[in-house]
């Protein structure tokens, strides 16, 4: 059966997380893969279940160590999925983690789909039947999130590029298919060298550019600019710290954008977010009062999304109301902080003042409500289609794997064309390239090539 044949792998901790990162591998090949890529001081004859092994992940290509890790194996059926599970624990950041994942995928695993570990746990009887619906919700939620993320403008640049690449492949496929399915028609005749040229010069170049963008990781210098706004002592700084800590983010203060504002990169529900921090200004107390709303204005214009923080344990001040007037209502979430303290602000008052703005209740102190806040930020970014100019190309690991695969097939197709291989072999290369691209764009309709043929050629008796 499908899920028993394939071994799956994924980074199990949130993307962008600092601290410990875990890669989980599940399936009957998990141990074989571990043997291929893990090297410890003393060779291991047989892995014991539930034991931590210290060693290095080795890139079998170069035979060089990538990172020091702790590796553990849980043999079936005593694991989360009831399959053989290998977990790799690393202290490294996302980049190293993802290159280790790539090594694991090359060693014979496939990237897990959203919710797939849990799905397997269920299918293998590890999870109670009564939880079936909860698992469905999980699959739907995760899938929904990634679909919306993919469709958003954030990765829009990548999407446009991959759609273009895909379309170019389909056009070539249509020409080749037409020449095979309609051999009597003169209009379908093709010249191999032209097509090979087109693949090399147009399509491959484009694919390689996107792959290169992965290496540059442009996203880590872009992201959605989020400003935390609010009056003094409303808890901005605690909220910022909570974000940095909760998300276990790669905290990267980027000094020098302006002298007053520091930027921190975090990921929230998979979205790269640039938190604009006014910490620098806060220290110079008194100046704030003078600059007042003017300063906030500058911040607000720089932001794609504003978190308007109010303090529920105190009444609203004039500052709060001024701020409300300044913010772009489309890009604002009202964050009601300090819910751990007795409430002074009534629900009605909040409702009548902030009307339809989305509201999230949190406690920066206890961390309560941050899950909802993250979700609200994700929803806002997705639904409002916040513009993030200039739109960066942001391939992630999944994209990069797919693109590299596509590039390999395209090269093959072009070589086979020149070497006079049969056209359906070339077509097979190209359609595998298309399949790889489909992994990114998610659209897979079988009629497209035929549609393209019929719009291009006048065929038939």
């Amino acid at each position: 059966m499908d899920y028993k044949e394939e071994t799956i792998a994924a980074i199990a901790t949130p993307i962008g997380a600092g601290g410990i990162g875990i890669i989980r591998v599940s399936g009957h090949n998990a141990e074989t893969i571990a043997r291929k890529i893990f090297r410890s001081k003393r060779p291991i004859k047989s892995f014991d279940s539930f034991r931590l092994y210290l060693g290095h992940i080795i890139d079998p290509k170069s035979n060089l160590p990538v990172d020091e890790v702790l590796l553990s194996i849980m043999h079936a059926p005593f694991s989360y999925t009831r399959e053989d599970v290998v977990e790799v624990n690393s202290h490294s950041g996302y980049t190293i983690l993802s290159s280790m994942l790539q090594i694991i995928l090359r060693a014979g695993a496939r990237l897990a789909k959203p919710g797939e570990f849990t799905l397997r746990a269920f299918l293998n009887g590890r999870i109670d039947l009564t939880q079936a619906e909860a698992i469905i919700d999980l699959i739907n939620a995760k899938g929904d999130m990634s679909v919306r993320l993919a469709a958003s403008q954030l990765v829009g640049g990548l999407r446009t590029r991959t759609e273009d690449i895909r379309h170019a492949i389909i056009e070539i496929l249509a020409r080749i298919e037409a020449s095979m399915d309609f051999p009597d028609e003169e209009s379908t005749m093709i010249t191999r060298s032209h097509i090979a040229d087109h693949i090399n010069k147009e399509i491959l170049t484009s694919v390689e550019e996107v792959i290169a963008a992965y290496a540059q990781r442009k996203i880590w210098h872009e992201g959605v600019a989020v400003v935390i706004a609010g009056r003094v002592n409303v808890g901005k700084s605690s909220i910022l710290n909570r974000f940095l800590q909760e998300e276990r983010a790669i905290v990267t203060p980027i000094p020098g954008t302006t002298r007053d504002i520091l930027e921190y990169m975090v990921t929230i529900e998979g979205i790269p977010v640039k938190l604009l921090d006014t910490a620098g200004i806060r220290k110079v107390k008194g100046k704030i009062e003078k600059k007042g709303v003017d300063l906030t204005k500058t911040q607000l214009t720089a932001a794609d999304l504003t978190l308007l923080v109010i303090d529920r344990s105190r009444s609203l001040s004039q500052y709060d109301l001024n701020l409300l007037r300044e913010v772009n209502k489309n890009n604002t979430i009202v964050v009601i902080n300090k819910i751990d303290l007795p409430a002074k602000l009534s629900e009605e008052k909040i409702g009548s003042t902030f009307e339809h703005l989305p509201k999230v209740k949190i406690s920066a102190l206890t961390g309560e409500g941050f899950k909802e806040l993250n979700r609200a930020i994700f929803d806002k970014v997705m639904d409002k289609k916040i513009d993030v100019p200039p739109t960066p190309i942001v391939p992630n690991l999944r994209h990069k794997i797919a693109l590299s695969e596509a590039a390999a097939f395209l090269e093959k197709a072009s070589v086979n064309l020149v070497n006079g291989f049969p056209l359906e072999i070339v077509a097979a290369d190209l359609s595998w390239a298309k399949d790889a691209i489909d992994e990114i764009t998610g659209n897979k309709t079988s009629e497209e090539i035929l549609n393209n043929i019929f719009s291009r050629f006048c065929l038939g008796k």
Binding site: M1, W432, L459
Partner: protein, 625 residues
């Protein structure tokens, strides 16, 4: 109603290419079969082109042959030209095509039917299906006389509410000059079937002696024709050429000037036409930049003057058709014997079918051919044998005959029809088959003959011979991989002469054969002490070795594909109670009732998440272990 005293197992309605294969398969499997047709002289008629096979269609014919069907045999008996298409392109898209003598084709097929002991053939127009408790029990003819059978296969072609158009003249006809059935579609509607309307057409027939063939390029058939059928020992018919010519600006102007007088552009036609088979009007509107279109003159037979003018199809009135046809160089003086016409007909939405081609609403009712929204003799015949086999198996209480998309073109077609439906007349293309490299003409016997034997449609002797050939093929593949050839002057001279690079080290033969410029013939020469092999085996070995990597990859894909096919969804599975599926998907799944998770995954709009969800429910309800 009075009934004919004899009760049948299966009644086949319609004697076209689908009906003939269906009736023969069921009768040969031991069922008592009655075939009914409006006109006994119309059996296995070719109402459009006089040609069998073609790219992807040739594969279908070979598959029918490997399952013990009749089409390939009759084709060989009546073919007046053979052409292997795409010889320069590659093995998977190489297909056979013949030109056939239409009258001889009809006679040869009728003869095969008449010889079948379990088969009665009767001329009658079926007007009504007799159904009790959603089970089919029989049919009623135009005179109100009934025939009883627990299974009926409808293969009615273009006859359901058939309407022929020439200009603004519309005639009720199943084909020009033949009665159409207006009762049967009503009967189907009243049983709850959803019917749609399609359009097709046929070009004019021209009198040979009035054509100036010097203005056309001659197109000969293959010098060494290969028979279609594995059972054909010898090709006896004389071989006749076709002729290629072109329309011109003048022809296009005539059509353009009279567009609104055509049935197609004058608003007479509501049926959906096929994009791959455009009428002249469509070609001129949609591809206005072209100043010529190819036409092929194909003989309709040996004893007739009639010439099929492929490419001149239209729905124009007579006074336009004549000058239009005569505007073509070489046809200035031509006498048109039959005009071109368009025809509209009802089809039954194939989403109402199970993969056996039995209908979901009425048990025992099967449909095959154009009634399912397809086009083409070969597509029809393939569905015919499929439905005939399945109806017979049901009567005999045996498990159904279901091939999957990795096994046969016919399975690709059936799966497409019952899973995705069709918006236009469905024609087979090689690009529809994702495992195309595995679905070749040359390996059709390997793919299907054993199954034909199990069904009782292929005799043991033939099956045994096939197995022997397969053994020889794998032995030869093995030998080639394990034979090493050492570089010598003789070897390298030969390679250079063949346009290939010389070898420096000892090299296995399969590596040499993998070079695109070399053939199995070259390998045999290089490899001296090697006795001559059966041509069929040689071809097969060459393909298996040359494209090994690609074939292996497709085989791996097939493995993955099969894993989902194996997860069956019980027919009574209730999607309304499935949490987490959108209403739209629930509705689709409830209508289509996929038999496996694989089929479900191919329904348009189904996401991987939806598949996981169904899997979870299968597990929950105990259908998945």
């Amino acid at each position: 109603m009075s009934y004919y005293p004899k009760k049948y197992d299966i009644i086949v309605v319609g004697a076209g290419h689908a009906g003939c294969e269906a009736a023969l398969a069921a009768a040969r499997m031991g069922c008592s079969v009655l075939m009914m047709t409006i006109d006994l002289d119309g059996i296995a008629r070719m109402p459009c082109s006089p040609s069998i096979g073609g790219v992807a269609k040739g594969q279908l014919v070979k598959e029918i042959d490997a399952l013990g069907g009749e089409m390939a045999k009759v084709t060989d008996k009546t073919a007046i030209q053979y052409r292997l298409l795409n010889t320069k392109k590659g093995p998977a898209v190489q297909s056979s095509r013949t030109q056939n003598d239409k009258i001889r084709y009809h006679i040869a097929m009728k003869e095969a039917l008449e010889k079948e002991p379990n088969l009665d053939i009767k001329q009658a127009m079926v007007e009504k299906l007799v159904v009790e408790n959603n089970h089919l029990v029989g049919i009623e003819d135009q005179t109100g006389f009934g025939y009883q059978a627990p299974a009926v296969i409808l293969s009615t072609g273009t006859f359901l509410s058939g309407l022929v158009h020439i200009g603004f003249t519309s005639i009720r006809a199943g084909r020009a000059g033949e009665f159409a059935s207006y009762g049967l579609p009503e009967s189907l509607r009243s049983l709850g079937f959803n019917l749609g309307r399609m359009k097709t057409g046929t070009p004019p027939r021209l009198k040979k002696s009035t054509i100036d063939f010097t203005r056309f390029a001659k197109q000969e058939g293959d010098e060494n024709p290969r028979p279609f059928s594995l059972f054909t020992k010898e090709i006896k018919m004389p071989q006749i050429p076709c002729y290629i010519g072109y329309t011109n600006k003048k022809s296009h102007q005539i059509v353009r000037d009279n567009l609104e007088r055509s049935a197609l552009y004058g608003g007479k036609i509501t049926g959906v036409p096929a994009r791959y088979c455009p009428s002249m009007e469509d070609k001129i509107v949609r591809f206005s930049e072209r100043d010529k279109h190819q036409i092929i003159l194909e003989p309709e037979g040996i004893d007739t003057e009639e010439i099929y003018a492929s490419g001149l199809g239209n729905s124009l009135p007579m006074d336009v058709q004549i000058p239009f046809v005569r505007s073509v160089e070489g046809l200035e003086e031509v006498e048109m014997m039959r005009p071109a016409y368009a025809i509209e007909y009802d089809y039954v939405d194939p989403l109402q079918l199970f993969p056996t081609l039995e209908t979901k609403p009425i048990k025992g009712l099967y449909m095959a051919g154009q009634i399912n929204g397809t086009s083409g003799y070969e597509e029809a015949a393939a569905q015919g044998i499929w439905a005939g086999i399945n109806a017979a198996l049901k009567i005999q209480k045996r498990p159904p005959f279901l091939l999957d998309r990795s096994e046969a073109y016919m399975a690709v077609m059936v799966d497409d029809l019952v899973t995705r439906g069709t918006e236009e007349p469905y024609r087979m293309f090689t690009s529809r088959a994702e495992y195309r490299l595995l679905l070749r003409e040359d390996n059709a016997e390997q793919r299907l003959m054993e199954k034909g034997n199990e069904l009782g449609l292929i005799d043991d002797e033939t099956a045994k011979e096939m197995k022997k050939r397969q053994k020889k093929i794998s032995a030869e593949c093995h030998r080639i991989k394990n034979t090493v050839i050492t570089p010598s002057k003789e070897v390298n001279d030969y390679l250079i002469k063949a346009g290939s690079a010389p070898i420096k080290n000892a090299t296995p033969l399969d590596q040499i054969l993998k070079r695109p410029e070399l053939s199995y013939q070259d390998i045999s020469t290089l490899d001296g002490h090697h006795k001559k092999k059966d041509e069929r085996i040689a071809r097969h070995v060459e393909i298996e070795v040359k494209y090994e990597g690609y074939i292996q990859r497709q085989l791996r894909e097939v493995e993955k594909f099969k894993s989902l096919e194996k997860i069956k969804i019980p027919p009574e599975f209730d999607y309304t109670g499935v949490h987490g599926l959108s209403n739209e998907l629930r509705e689709k799944l409830s209508t289509i009732k996929p038999i496996s998770l694989g089929q479900a995954s191919r329904i348009p709009g189904i996401t991987p998440a939806a598949i996981s969800i169904i899997m979870i429910y299968l597990k929950k309800t105990g259908s998945l272990l």
